[in-house]
Amino acid sequence: MEPWEEDGPEVVKRFMYVNRRAPYGTIYALECLEVVLIAAAFDQDVSVVFVDDGVCQLKKDQDTTAIGMKNFSNTYRALDDYDVEKIYVEKESLEARGLTEEDLIIPVEVLAADQLGDIMAQQDVVISS
């Protein structure tokens, strides 16, 4: 154990938060983000995954003015401040929607399904909403 780990929790579990839905059409994207921000305070191993329509949550230049809903996309930028650094986006999902990494509001790790599946298989707790 490293000296800086001595005050850490006894049990560190790998928590993965899986986003598979687009923003605004339903509340799931926003409420999942709220969970992740709280989870970041728990000194667990946190990763956040965007797959299927979930990748649309990270599209830059969202402007909700005319639909009257809160634009929460800038909050993803705060993940880094909360030390949530493992942010994975599935390559196949991006491509299927005509998006590239340059379209996203934050830096992410783009992974092919096979690699992302490997990481998913290693998790202790998977929370989806």
Binding site: R20, V51, D52, E92, G117, M120, A121, V126, S129
Partner: protein, 103 residues
């Protein structure tokens, strides 16, 4: 080695939960079809091939009470799918290290 139990509660004809699960699930993990997910378990349905193609790599289960509720007891299931009740669902959760719901 993977000890993941994947939970699919959506009809594959309505949502892509099963498609994505099959794309990402690793050999050795299990899939439980429940609620509207049971429609993927019918051998006469057009998802039978997608499921059968992964049979052997993945172990498939279907929740019997959801099959019966939908009037499907007289419809044959895809060969190799095991039927479990809620107690069997609990056993699967206990036997696998992680449960992942594809919501």
């Amino acid at each position: 080695m993977s000890t993941m139990l994947h939970l699919i509660n959506k009809s594959p004809f309505d949502r892509n939960a099963l498609d994505t699960c099959l794309r990402l699930a690793k050999t050795g993990s299990s899939v439980l079809l429940l609620e509207d997910g049971v429609y993927a378990a019918m051998s006469g349905g057009s998802y039978a091939k997608a499921v059968s193609d992964r049979m052997g790599e993945l172990t498939f289960y279907v929740l019997g009470p959801d099959v019966s509720a939908r009037g499907l007891d007289d419809k044959p299931l895809i060969d190799g799918i095991d039927v479990v009740d809620y107690g069997g669902f609990v056993d699967l959760v206990v036997e696998h290290e992680t449960a992942q719901s594809w919501l």
